[in-house]
């Protein structure tokens, strides 16, 4: 196993180095703009999103210490939270153009509300059914 790990690691370093070469070939201006986003992504996650989940998590732990069974609600929150993050570009319609009606041509806010309501109904349904099974 040690040999195959060394091999995998070596290949990984070579592959990443090729990527760095491709990136450098795109010029310094491009590199600067890329690094802003590379570092920005890590900072946004580690300094903003992750602490936020710590706070939410602390609240959820307190609730479940109080004996409330909230598993299905947490899963529902996970679905809505992560899918909302994935949908930021369409929710904000940042790429919309007045000369192209075929692009971003839905009411995304209504879609988001549908997702929230549907998830809430399913989560509560699971919670109720489970509660009845295990009184």
């Amino acid at each position: 196993m040690r040999a195959s790990r060394m091999l995998l690691g070596g290949v990984g370093v070579a592959v990443a180095a090729y990527g760095v070469k491709l990136l450098l070939d795109l010029g310094l201006g491009n590199l600067r703009a890329t690094l802003e986003w590379l570092v920005g992504g890590i900072v946004l996650h580690d300094a903003l999103l992750a602490p936020l989940t710590v706070l939410v998590g602390a609240g959820l732990v307190r609730l479940s210490r109080g004996g409330v069974r909230i598993g299905p609600l947490v899963v529902g929150g996970l679905v809505v939270g992560t899918v909302t993050i994935a949908a930021i570009p369409v929710l904000g319609r940042f790429g919309a153009r007045s000369d192209n009606a075929t692009l971003l041509d839905r009411n995304y806010l209504v879609g988001w509300l549908v997702l929230v309501v549907l998830t809430a109904v399913v989560s509560l349904g699971v919670l109720l059914v489970r509660g009845r099974q295990r009184p």
Binding site: G9, Y18, G19, N30, W37, I42, G71, V83, F94, L115
Partner: protein
């Protein structure tokens, strides 16, 4: 839980945050990244004029499927990456070792993880923004997304190589097994580890269902976050409008002529001339790098028929020039296997209608199994190379 000024690894007491969850979510996340990398490489090959292996013209839907998969696997990865990062977040605050050699090894590992996390977030964020045609950055999207993919997949291989013994150990044990957990985790959690892993997969599936309607017609009504509903002139959406390309006057002008050149031979065609040539019809998809696609029945002149008019031999690449005034795809080169393909048309009509100006009136190129940006609209000139 108290929030100290500077948290330590032990301050995170959740039994959900640990290698048992991280490895299981990681396997799915890694799978998504490998699919996205392979399909992304295929897309890159489809974009270069002379790739490693000549890009195939069949099946006609190949690029549509690989690019749809590319965007779907990237979208699926977003919830998985968020849960994966959440499950290992306490490691960020682990105390560094005292011994110099250990410190050096750990610094290297942390560096490789920083590269992996940065590249992974970069790829997913830039990719999902690109699907919605949002470009809030100063880098060249396609080239940078491609370069960063090699960095991400390389860093992923290094990460798996480093963690392999731990991955094998936790995947081989029951999910609630605590042998490899951080010290100090508490027993209280609002849900079990298995539920968290399944919940992540559920979120990942919902993310795909909510967006894939832009390329899977059956999902159009389900995909509340689909970038396109599939509507448009002739039943097909558009990417660049005639207005944006600045071609309205030249495309509608009665003086319009399509120039066809092969060496010293040159012919020019008015719209009526093109309509007088033998017309053919074929069902071909238009599939964009942003992951949306739609299939239509195109009518027009077979490209090969036109090339025969100027005596062009088979096996030649063909250069297409658009009326559009600027943009990287104003001039494109069609590799010879597409130029000689009987399905490749100069389309004058779509789904029984005259080609709309936003679809490239007077005529556009439509070839099987090609990225959308190369299906050049508002053709001005065709030149045999």
């Amino acid at each position: 839980m108290r929030l100290p000024a500077s948290p330590r690894e032990e301050d995170f007491t959740s039994r959900l945050r640990g290698p048992a969850v991280a490895a299981r979510v990681g396997v799915w996340l890694g799978t998504c990244f490998v699919i996205a990398f392979v399909t992304g490489f295929i897309s890159h090959e489809a974009h270069v004029t002379h790739p490693f292996v000549a890009f195939p013209t069949r099946p006609v839907w190949l690029y549509r499927v690989t690019q749809g998969l590319h965007v779907a696997s990237g979208t699926a990865a977003i919830p998985l990456l968020l849960v994966k990062l959440w499950s290992v977040f306490p490691k960020l605050f682990a105390r560094p070792p005292r011994r110099v050699t250990e410190l050096a090894v750990e610094s290297l590992e942390r560096g490789s993880i920083a590269v992996l996390v940065g590249a992974a977030i970069f790829e997913l964020a830039s990719g999902v923004a690109n699907t919605a045609q949002w470009y809030p950055w100063g880098f060249h999207f396609r080239a940078t997304h491609y370069a960063m993919a090699w960095i991400a997949i390389g860093a992923l291989a290094v990460h798996v190589a480093v963690k392999l013994p731990l991955i094998r150990a936790v995947l081989g044990a029951p999910i609630e097994n605590e042998e490899h957990d951080r010290p100090g985790i508490s027993g209280v959690a609002p849900l079990g580890r298995r539920t968290l892993v399944r919940g992540s997969l559920l979120a990942s599936g919902v993310a795909v269902l909510a967006t894939a309607g832009a390329t899977v017609p059956l999902l159009r009504r389900v995909s509340v976050f689909g970038v396109r509903s599939g509507d448009g002139p002739g039943g097909i959406p558009i990417n660049k409008s005639a207005h944006a390309a600045g071609v309205i006057a030249t495309a509608l002008s009665p003086e319009y002529r399509l120039i066809l050149r092969h060496g010293a031979q040159e012919r020019s065609f008015s719209v009526a001339d093109l309509e007088a040539l033998r017309q053919r019809s074929g069902k071909l998809p238009i599939a964009c790098v942003e992951g949306w696609s739609a299939s239509g029945t195109w009518t027009g002149v077979r490209l090969r028929d036109l090339l025969d008019l100027v005596g062009a031999p088979r096996g030649r690449d063909v250069r297409f020039t658009s009326l559009q005034q600027r943009g990287p795809y104003k001039v494109t080169t069609l590799p010879s296997q597409f130029a000689d393909d009987p399905l490749t048309l100069l389309a004058l009509g779509l789904n029984g209608e005259k080609l709309a100006i936003d679809h490239g009136y007077p005529c556009r190129l439509i070839a099987p199994d090609r990225p959308g940006v190369f299906q050049t609209k508002w053709l001005a000139a065709i030149e045999v190379l």
